[in-house]
Amino acid sequence: MDEDVLTTLKILIIGESGVGKSSLLLRFTDDTFDPELAATIGVDFKVKTISVDGNKAKLAIWDTAGQERFRTLTPSYYRGAQGVILVYDVTRRDTFVKLDNWLNELETYCTRNDIVQMLVGNKIDKENREVDRNEGLKFARKHSMLFIEASAKTCDGVQCAFEELVEKIIQTPGLWESESQNRGVKLSNKEEGYGGGGACGGYCSML
């Protein structure tokens, strides 16, 4: 399977504690939801190969703990990431308010400045919503991020979020490296196709 892989991408999931980072990842990698998922300690790591527009990409996804004390450790994992998923909980405004801190941290510790960022508002299945979708949209637009609302529980938007992120990374020249020279040809064929699709500008919403 690895032979078909176009590239390996490093993706990072960050956000306040308890917003459902690990649940999103579990939903994406194993398509399951565990209401009793233990709080992450330090960082966790999962791998999944996905296919976006015929390009297979191997994703090495680093899931981080949101607690303040763990944050002194996690920035080190920002290094070399091509994509980052910033998660907040639509039912807890404080997790949305803290997004600015996370972006600051990202800017400080990221080794590249063209990293693709995606904002995910999680837990839309819950009823006591505190953050409106438009607020999320506005924030994403302001910081040129991708934006989607999702629910790890009901599976809404999860797959889409990861796929869109990967597609965007692959479209960004210089952000990733092909696994081998031969695959380069495959990509260039592919890129022509993207022009018509036009799915993404600097900012895009998928809902």
Binding site: G18, A38, T40, I41, T72, L73, R79
Partner: protein, 979 residues
């Protein structure tokens, strides 16, 4: 073609090309090319706008054809024009002159600053040139030249192409062209004369007019008026009183301890030679009618001061030697050296005393040996001598790459604290290391994070600058190796003697900086912890007040050795997994023997601890109270997480990733990373006797403690809280860790970070760096410094184009430097960009000085002058407002006047000179100017040729006269209808 010429009386007309000659084939190839380029048919276009030759874009297309086996290149040069509207085309009609012929008379683009010579000579917007393809080939013989000319004539006739076609004849450097342009019933011949020596009758206007008229051979009398455009060009090479002020810095001044123009820690800037080599002044009379002025061999009315148009261009010295650029280039060369420090300093230096440096690999065992640099006092001279002595032994005194004075100066610069007395250093240490780093939140200061270099006030940055200077002035790579060796020794000395390294930000390594900087910060972390521990042992500073910063966690001193009983009481029970954890969070082995003290201890501990005295409190956590005893909840003093450099992190994440994605892998991964959590829990328990997991969670992960307002039996609103569902999962890692955690304050816990081992690792790493490695580590700092320097210099000059380039350099560099091991080619590009900016600024300075912008008192004039100087840098040619009478004009005038006064010629003699030779007297009116370097004249008229009843057609002759070159380029049109 061949067939046409043979009259055949056959029934069937056969067109036969089999006998076509080389010449015929050549012609048809020319036609083919003209066809391919769609140059056939009526050329159309708008009349040329003023200055379009300069502002518009020129393009060219090339093809290759051959005459037999002789290769020619065909090139089409043209001004890119907007497609003209159709109406215009129709208006032209059949009888209109071909565009190129109209262009011959157009006066809007005389003397373009930058153009193909044919454009300058004939004012053409479009033409095709056939020239020998090889650079050294030439068509010299007259018959061949004529053959070529006939070829193009036939090709033009056959195709009806109206674009002028030229052939280049003679050697290429002579730029000799002949050509032809054809239109319906009209033809223009382009002819040329090129001579070394000028016949004296052609050096002035009247002589040229004579040739022009003879050449036209106009049958009419009187002759229609000839319009004239004249340009005299004067060159100024001799900037008499403006000596180029910048001298190469005096190296000796440095050595003597007296800092001259150049200090360590600063980069030099500026050109060593004048970056402006010449100033060309062109004085132009754009439109003179015949007879208005007199210019003959005895008298001339052409006074440059009176010329209606002045324009100036400057010739820039090619690659002027610039100091900053040289520094950068030399330093970059260092990156390619292969030698190790030992090889450079002489291997023998380490044979005897090798144990001191080379054996750092056995670093741990070395700790037990006496310190390798047993210097009683921290003083620069001692530091210098340590390495110096060794080198001296083997190489002789004079051979050591850096002499004492230089080395002293540098070390003092790098380690300013070493100059102070020992005691003072000791006390001021904390304040200096903090004070060294003022956090100006300016854009410039934060450049280091973009470049991945180091802050501009850091030791690493200073070291980079010193190495750069040493590489340039003090012994090259040998000097670099020597200083590095001294530096590494100093690092070891500081580690062994608990002296913090100055010029580094506190705290764990800053991953935004270069690896070398991180390593030094790491070493400082180690020193800090070791120092705290040693001080604790000495008992001089027993318990610190808990009011200190959280970073003081480990500084409280480690008493583990003093009270082993207590240690046993709270023995570790998580040792079952701590073995694997040790790969990352190295622990002291003295706790190993405490293994297996049973889990029951831990559980009991929680209950017993209620009676314990609280220890290691940092501060109360807001107004939070413990749930059960109802006492304030305290934030404990905690162990700082282990500092990490990026290479360590890389290793660690690799190991974590290798554990795989299985549940066990994930579990193990969490375990490996829970040392910090456990340590925090223990600290928390010690600070809050009688606390429970809920209390801990409220501090550590507040969102996992869910509070609800409930109304109790009495009807009062009560806030009831509980752990989140995920924290309540039985035997999840948090609960598990909580149960095993014992109330142990941070200072008595086992170390999460083994400073001894880490320090030795860093020191070894430093010792094995070759000069080339070092240069690569520090190149980002040097580029950073260079950009800052350029920025600083630019700020004085305020040149907008430079600002733009600097911005580009910054964004380019931040892209290149952030990646590990950037390509050499990209680095070279950056350096070249910086050098070009330096050259531009140096040129601006040179021009400013020459035009005396600073001396100008009138503010308005000063602004004008400044703009004038700036545009000189950016545009090929700048017109002078007010010509010779404007402020800039009068300065230029003075420049020429001054240059005329040859140095050391007293004023008296000058008077004599004025009444000099006849040649000078002829140009009496322009005595203040030197004789012009170039005289260009364009003569134009429209007369019927060859017969009086022919159509009036454009005639043009251009002449240029320089010191060793005379050229006439004529375009003479004739009506071909009846001829």
């Amino acid at each position: 073609m061949a067939a046409d010429s043979e009259p055949e009386s056959e029934v069937f007309e056969i067109t036969d090309f089999t006998t076509a000659s080389e010449w015929e084939r050549f012609i048809s190839k020319i036609e083919e090319v003209l066809n391919d380029w769609k140059l056939i048919g009526i050329s159309s276009g708008k009349p040329l706008e003023k200055g379009i030759f300069t502002t518009g874009t020129w393009e060219e297309k090339s093809d290759e054809i051959s005459f037999a086996d002789f290769k020619f290149s065909v090139t089409h040069h043209y001004l890119v024009q907007e497609p003209s509207d159709k109406d215009g085309k129709e208006e032209l009609g059949e009888d209109a002159l071909p565009l190129p012929m109209q262009d011959l008379l157009c006066m809007n683009n005389d003397f373009p600053p930058r153009a193909h010579c044919l454009v300058r000579w004939y004012g053409l917007r479009e033409f095709v040139v056939i020239a020998p393809a090889a650079n050294n080939d030439a068509v010299v013989s007259e018959s061949k030249c004529n053959l070529l000319l006939s070829s193009i004539s036939i090709a033009l006739g056959n195709t009806g192409c109206q674009v002028p076609l030229f052939v280049q004849i003679h050697h290429k450097w002579r730029r000799m062209y002949v050509g032809e342009c054809q239109g319906p019933g009209v033809r223009t011949d382009f002819e040329m004369v090129h001579l070394r020596k000028v016949p004296s009758q052609y050096t002035h206007l009247s002589g040229l007019l004579d040739i022009f008229k003879t050449k036209i051979g106009c049958p009419l009398t009187p002759l229609p008026p000839v319009s004239m455009a004249i340009r005299l060009t004067f060159v100024l090479q001799d900037w008499q009183q403006y000596f180029w002020p910048q001298q190469p810095p005096d190296i000796d001044a440095l050595v003597g301890g007296e800092v001259g123009g150049l200090e360590f820690g600063k980069l030099p800037f500026g050109a060593c030679e004048d970056p402006i080599s010449e100033l060309h002044l062109a004085t132009t009379w754009p439109h003179l009618a015949e007879g208005i002025i007199v210019d003959n061999d005895v008298y001339s009315d052409l006074d440059p001061l009176q010329a209606p148009q002045w324009s100036v261009r400057v010739r820039k010295a090619d690659n002027p030697q610039c100091l900053l650029g040289d520094f950068l280039t030399e330093f970059f060369k260092l990156c390619r050296r292969k030698e190790s420090t030992d090889e450079i300093l002489g291997r023998s230096a380490f044979d005897e005393e090798g144990k001191e440096v080379a054996d750092i690999t056995h670093a741990l065992s070395k700790l037990t040996e006496p310190a390798p640099v047993p210097i009683p006092k921290l003083s620069v001279t001692n530091m210098v001598h340590s390495a110096k002595k060794k080198i001296r032994k083997h190489r002789g005194v004079d051979e050591s790459p850096l002499n004492n004075d230089v080395l002293n100066t540098i070390l003092l610069f790098l380690f300013p604290d070493a100059a102070d007395k020992l005691a003072e250093v000791f006390e001021n240490r904390a304040s200096t290391s903090a004070g060294n780093n003022p956090p100006p939140e300016s854009e410039d200061y934060n450049l280091f994070s973009q470049f991945k270099s180091a802050p501009s006030d850091s030791l690493t940055y200073k070291l980079a600058l010193c190495l750069c200077m040493i590489n340039f002035y003090h012994g090259g790579v040998k000097g670099v190796a020597h200083l590095w060796q001294e530096f590494v020794l100093e690092m070891r000395y500081r580690w062994e003697n608990n002296y913090l390294i100055p010029g580094l930000a506190n705290g764990s390594p800053d991953l935004r900086c270069c690896l070398l900087h991180q390593k030094l910060q790491m070493l400082n972390c180690c020193i800090e912890r070791k120092k705290a521990r040693d001080e604790g042992k000495r008992g001089s500073m027993s318990d610190r007040s808990p009011g200190g910063a959280s970073g003081d966690g480990a500084k409280g001193g480690d008493h583990s050795g003093d009270n082993p009983d207590k240690e046993k009481e709270f023995g570790k029970s998580w040792d079952s997994w701590s073995d694997s954890e040790e790969e990352f969070f190295e622990c002291l082995s003295d706790t190993e023997d405490l293994k297996g003290n049973g889990q029951e201890n831990g559980k009991k501990g929680a209950k017993e601890s209620v009676n314990l005295k609280p220890e290691g409190r940092l501060h109360p956590h807001g107004k939070l109270m413990l749930l059960h005893p109802g006492e304030p909840l305290y934030v404990p003093i905690t162990q700082e997480p282990a500092p990490m450099t990026e290479d360590l992190l890389e290793e660690q994440s690799e190991v974590l990733a290798k554990l795989g994605t299985s549940a066990e892998g994930a579990h193990l991964r969490a375990r490996m990373q829970s040392a910090c959590l456990l340590s925090d829990m223990e600290s928390f328990k010690a600070a809050n006797p009688g606390c429970c997991l809920e209390d801990f969670v409220r501090w550590y992960s507040p969102r996992d403690y869910i509070e609800e307002e409930v109304i109790d039996e009495k009807g009062n609103k009560v806030i009831r809280g509980e752990l989140s569902a995920r924290m309540k999962i039985p035997s999840n890692m948090w609960v598990e860790a909580w149960e095993t955690a014992k109330p142990v304050p941070a200072r008595r816990q086992k170390r999460l970070f083994d400073d001894t081992r880490e320090a030795e690792k860093v020191l070894h790493y430093l010792a094995v760096q070759k000069p080339a490695d070092l240069a690569r580590h520090l190149l980002p700092c040097i580029i950073h410094a260079a950009v800052l320097k350029v920025k600083e210099e630019e700020a004085v000059e305020d040149i907008s184009s430079v600002k733009k380039i600097i911005k580009q350099i910054i964004s380019h560099s931040s892209k290149v430097l952030r990646f590990p091991s950037p390509e050499d080619k990209k680095l070279e590009e950056i350096i070249a960009q910086i050098m070009s900016v330096e050259a531009i600024i140096a040129r601006a300075r040179s021009l400013k000085a020459k035009f005396g912008v600073e001396k100008c008192e009138n503010e308005e004039e000063k602004g004008d002058l400044q703009r004038f100087v700036n545009s000189l840098l950016e545009q090929p040619e700048v017109s002078v407002v007010g010509a010779g009478r404007g402020p800039a004009g009068s300065i230029i005038h003075k420049l020429f006047v001054n240059a005329q006064r040859v140095p050391a010629v007293p004023p008296l003699e000058e008077e004599l000179r004025r009444s000099g030779s006849q040649e000078e007297r002829r140009q009496g009116v322009q005595s203040e100017f030197p004789p012009p370097t170039g005289r260009e004249v364009i003569l134009r008229t429209s007369v019927p040729r060859p017969a009086p009843y022919s159509k009036a057609l454009p005639q043009r002759m251009y002449s240029v006269l320089t010191r060793e070159d005379f050229r006439l380029a004529g375009a003479f049109s004739a009506d071909t209808t009846f001829f």
